[in-house]
């Protein structure tokens, strides 16, 4: 084969072939570039539900994010009565879709009777603007709703290099000085508590830290997913000062036949939300994980169906061989699990911190579909029509 490709070209033929190659390169760059740009610029839309009373921006807390892609919305749902507050962080890692979908489900449905809820649906907007290289990832997936398909972006775990670079060989976590993997330089969940003058990821982390501090937010829940072969899965990771709440939530979830684990946040692993937000703010901090096949390394072909259904023949085989910590499941179950985790953490807080049920000391939220309802009706049933 090689010898046929190495024949002698005449000068004229050489110029013609080279020119054709250049034209092909330009065409490929044009169409690939157009595709990447369209994905990057695609603005995800959300419906503000009946509970939303105002919308804040990240730049209100981290001024240098103003005018940048990182200036995400913070949806605020204020109850008529005062009470404790809750922050739900969705979309930290855009390749973990149930994180965003759960916060969207709450945004479009939840009502607050007593207390305040802060919802973030796109914590790292830059990471929603590109796909992780060399994963063959799809750019979008869809959820069937009563009003047709709703399209959601499937982005990368990391901030886009167009918004944060260069990457150092070793990532030094700012406030602790701990040396971490270089790939975590652009990971929002290694950037906490962040820095007002830091990198893009650190500025976003700083906005979230300041949001908690300035509003004295009582509880913070950071939603994630992990690959089925990862140990910390179907789990709540809690800061040591929140572990009693996580333990009670765990018991209540187990009583409803939803298996869950509780882990205490490692003291010496820095940059993570459950460690740094717990250390640097007064908030009771939790991180929740579900099982996502599309994130895993054992999967076969990457498709939009894989993101939604979690079905993959290689993962089925791995499950049969007992190699997984939790089998991959449908996105309905992953969202249902996150939703139940949030509800049970709030219930546990109310039980432990307001045992007498005094007025204005409990966070009272309503209009949230139950675990079983989400699984039987599907997440799409609870998503509203885009206007």
């Amino acid at each position: 084969m090689m010898k046929y490709l190495n024949f002698k070209l005449t000068k004229k033929l050489n110029i013609v072939i080279s020119s054709i190659a250049i034209v092909f390169v330009v065409l490929i760059v044009f169409f690939a570039g157009k595709d990447f740009k369209e994905f990057s610029n695609y603005e995800q839309e959300f419906v503000k539900g009946p509970g939303v009373t105002r919308v804040e921006k990240f730049s209100d807390y981290s001024p240098k994010l103003k005018g940048t892609i990182g200036d995400a919305d913070i949806f605020v749902l204020e109850g008529e009565k005062p009470g404790p507050s809750l922050l739900v962080i969705g979309g930290t890692h855009p390749n973990e879709p149930s994180s965003q979908l759960t916060s969207v489900l709450l945004l479009e449905n939840m009502k607050v009777e007593s207390g305040t809820v802060y919802l973030i649906t796109e914590a790292n907007r830059s990471a929603f603007s590109h796909s992780h290289p060399q994963e063959g990832a799809v750019q979008f997936y869809s959820i069937e709703t009563q009003f047709g398909e709703r399209i959601f972006k499937f982005g990368s775990r990391a901030t886009n290099t167009n918004h944060q670079w260069p990457n150092p060989d070793v990532y030094v976590h700012k406030s602790s000085g701990q040396k971490l993997s270089a790939q975590d330089t652009r990971n929002l969940n290694r950037a906490y508590p962040g820095s007002v003058d830091g990198t893009y990821s650190e500025r976003v982390a700083y906005a979230i830290t300041e949001l908690i501090k300035k509003n004295n937010i009582t509880m913070t829940i950071d939603l994630h997913e992990a690959s089925p072969e990862y140990m910390t899965i179907n789990a709540i990771v809690a800061h040591q000062k929140s572990i009693h709440i996580a333990s009670l939530a765990f018991l209540n979830m187990e009583l409803q036949d939803v298996e869950i684990k509780v882990e205490q946040s490692p003291v010496n692993l820095h940059g993570l939300s459950h460690r740094e937000l717990g250390d640097h703010t007064d908030s009771l901090v939790f991180l929740a994980e579900t099982s996502n096949a599309s994130q895993g390394k054992l999967r076969g072909r990457f498709t939009a169906d894989l993101i939604v259904t979690g079905e993959d023949k290689y993962y089925k085989r791995a499950e049969q061989l007992g190699l997984l910590f939790a089998p991959p499941v449908h996105i309905n179950e992953r969202v249902a699990r996150h939703t139940l985790t949030i509800v049970e953490i709030v219930n546990a807080y109310n039980t432990l911190y307001n045992p007498k049920g005094e007025e204005n000391k409990s966070l009272i939220i309503s209009a949230i579909p139950s675990y079983n309802d989400i699984i039987s009706n599907g997440i799409g049933y609870y998503l509203h029509e885009l206007t």
Partner: protein, 56 residues
């Protein structure tokens, strides 16, 4: 020095290096007599131009 200024300087240097390699590759595309080299050069050129335009 501000982080943005340092990043901007490094970005300019980086883009100049990428541009240098793009020029060399295009040059080689016309100079080389090997079809295989032309094909390989073209594939690499796509990635470099996407980087040069800061698209991907």
């Amino acid at each position: 020095m501000e982080l943005e200024v340092i990043s901007m300087i490094i970005t300019i240097i980086y883009l100049l290096i990428v541009l240098f390699f793009v020029v060399l590759l295009v040059w080689n595309l016309f100079e080389s007599q090997s079809i295989l080299e032309k094909a390989l050069g073209s594939i690499v050129l796509v990635m470099l131009i996407l980087r040069l335009l800061l698209i991907k």
